[in-house]
């Protein structure tokens, strides 16, 4: 499927801070983003015949098709797991198009974090524990499995707790420091400050970082993504069709949608092998993706690495071979991920941390804009972009995007 399909349209709603999108509905926002992406692509709902979603997607393809009035749905599926599927959703679309199942696919995410329906509370799996307050966003009473009694009493309740555990081990194994996490946060903030649409644009200094309250030590407030409401959609079609459309096609060169069986991080069991405990669980995915795209990490011009938690950017730099395993801390300390001056600019849009959180979709949009040549923090001559999904459960995903020439 290498270079057989391309992203041809991007669309998004207004960006809302967490919980501020009411009285809109999630379907309302998903519709707007999809129609906007189709318009950007020069296509209509009559052209749309595929739905390649991820992460539970919060709206289902069938309801979307109904509401959009799509005449004939030829493919509809949602990758399991969470934000880990963002980059892979367009890989799935490319595979589907290349296989002839569908011609024009939409991938999207919509988020609405109202008090009654918080996303990201990770209330599944062994952490599902009875609480004195009767469950809620983080717990949910009942459904306690016998296995859960071996994990849940420790009160590891959120993705932040899980990733802190990996981070602490990374610090121990490799000497990684909080200053290195700060560099991820500060460099991305610098990128966001230059973009009118980014939500977090206050200057962020090292002093600010160290003055922030600790949430789950070693992670502080700034190490966590912000939370938002809104929807973003992208449209993928065959390269032959893409050539007839308004924008420079952004080729899908390679994609990995999977993981290593014994590395199921977000299940929160912490039984991963020692060699990959402090990792993003993406090493096999990266290898598959690069092989399919027939490029290497040295060819990547801009890396858009899912940043739910800043240390996971470091671990992805390692897993996606942008620096050696264990050396991501010094690598970022040397300025390598800075836009304009670094050897491999990372999250030039500001990422989940400082731009906008729509689990991974902003990374895809930034990849498209970089390769169209229309990004605000444009990497000069960018030909190849790496987009990743959020390290978590399988499938973890990564996709290589390439400018069409």
């Amino acid at each position: 499927m290498k270079d057989k399909a391309a992203i041809v349209g991007i669309g998004q709603t207004q960006r809302y801070r967490r919980g501020q999108s009411l009285p809109r509905s999630m379907m309302d926002m998903a519709m707007e983003a999809t129609l906007s992406a189709l318009a950007d692509a020069g296509l209509t709902t009559n052209d749309l015949d595929g739905f390649a979603f991820y992460g539970g997607a919060t709206v289902d393809p069938g309801s979307m098709a109904y509401n959009l009035g799509v005449p004939h749905v030829k493919f509809a599926a949602t990758l399991t797991a969470g934000g880990s599927g963002s980059a892979g959703s367009v890989g799935m679309a490319a595979a589907v198009i290349n296989a002839g199942l569908a011609n024009v696919c939409v991938s999207l995410f919509v988020l609405q974090q109202v008090p009654t329906g918080r996303f990201g509370g990770s209330s599944e799996g062994p952490r599902k524990v009875p609480t004195a307050s009767g469950g809620g966003a983080y717990g949910g009473g009942g459904n306690v499995s016998p296995e859960a009694a071996f994990i849940s009493p420790a009160s590891i309740m959120s993705p932040g707790h899980n990733f802190s555990m990996l981070t602490q081990r990374h610090m121990y194994q490799y000497g990684t420091k909080r200053e290195h996490f700060a560099e991820v946060c500060i460099s991305q903030r610098e990128n966001a400050i230059k973009r009118p649409q980014s939500l977090r644009k206050d200057p962020l200094t090292l002093d600010d970082y160290f003055a922030a309250r600790m949430i789950s030590d070693p992670l502080c407030l700034f190490d966590y993504t912000m939370e938002c409401d809104g929807a973003i959609a992208v449209i993928t079609t065959s390269i032959d069709r893409a050539k007839t459309l308004p924008h420079t096609p952004v080729l899908i060169s390679g994609s990995g949608i999977g993981g290593t069986g014994n590395n199921a991080h977000l299940l929160g069991n912490f039984q991963m092998p020692d060699v990959s405990f402090a990792s993003a669980g993406a090493r096999d995915v990266a290898k598959q993706m690069y092989e399919m795209a027939e490029v290497g990490p040295e060819d990547v011009d801009v890396a858009l690495l899912y940043d739910h938690f800043s240390p996971m950017v470091l671990m992805q730099l390692e897993d996606f071979q942008l620096c050696p395993i264990g050396e991501s801390g010094p690598f970022v300390a040397e300025g390598n991920i800075r836009f304009g001056t670094g050897s491999i600019p990372v999250n030039t849009h500001g990422g989940n941390l400082s731009d906008f959180y729509c689990p991974g979709m902003t990374h895809l949009v930034e990849g498209v804009e970089q390769l169209r040549g229309t990004a605000i923090n444009q990497v000069e001559g960018a030909e190849i972009a790496l987009c990743t999904g959020g390290p978590s459960s399988i499938p973890m995903t990564g996709t290589i995007l390439k400018r069409y020439r």
Partner: protein
């Protein structure tokens, strides 16, 4: 906080009063009532399976065999939860979830439980630990870890 239901410093809010045991996990909780730490090995290939799984990922056998452990171990990783995520936890932060490599257990099998009676600032990966028990109910005695 220290009382009969909350005897250790830095325990999180109690969430469980029963181990929800099944035939794969019951031997662990029965031994726990006696203050004996055990771990389950695959009855066929000997791979440790934590948490106790119904199928062995290595050989696909179902049977488990519990072995007694000395109750000591090494801290593999930990976090210090300083911000309570639920109202229940507000009076119990900070608490210290930990991953522990127990002596007598091979492979990647690790215990997940809380460190107690140790100041958060003093916790270091690699430190030697020992198990300690809290009797929660007639059916549940929970393992905690503290400095050996």
């Amino acid at each position: 906080m220290s009382n009969t239901t909350h005897p250790f410093k830095y325990m999180p809010a109690p969430l469980f009063t029963d181990p929800y045991a099944d035939e794969w996990t019951a031997p662990f909780w029965e031994a726990a009532l006696r203050g004996q730490l055990t771990a389950p090995k695959c009855a066929e290939c000997g791979t440790f399976r934590l948490p106790p799984s119904r199928w062995c990922a290595a050989c696909h056998a179902q049977g488990l065999e519990y072995v007694d452990l000395p109750g000591t171990g090494t801290l593999y990783s930990f976090i210090i939860v300083r911000h309570a995520l639920t109202p229940d936890q507000k009076e119990y932060v900070p608490y210290i979830p930990a991953v522990v490599s127990a002596d007598g257990v091979s492979g990647n099998a690790r215990f997940v439980a809380n460190l107690v009676n140790v100041e958060p600032e003093d916790v270091q990966i690699g430190m030697k630990l020992k198990v300690t028990w809290n009797e929660v109910s007639a059916t549940l005695t929970l393992p905690f870890w503290t400095v050996a």
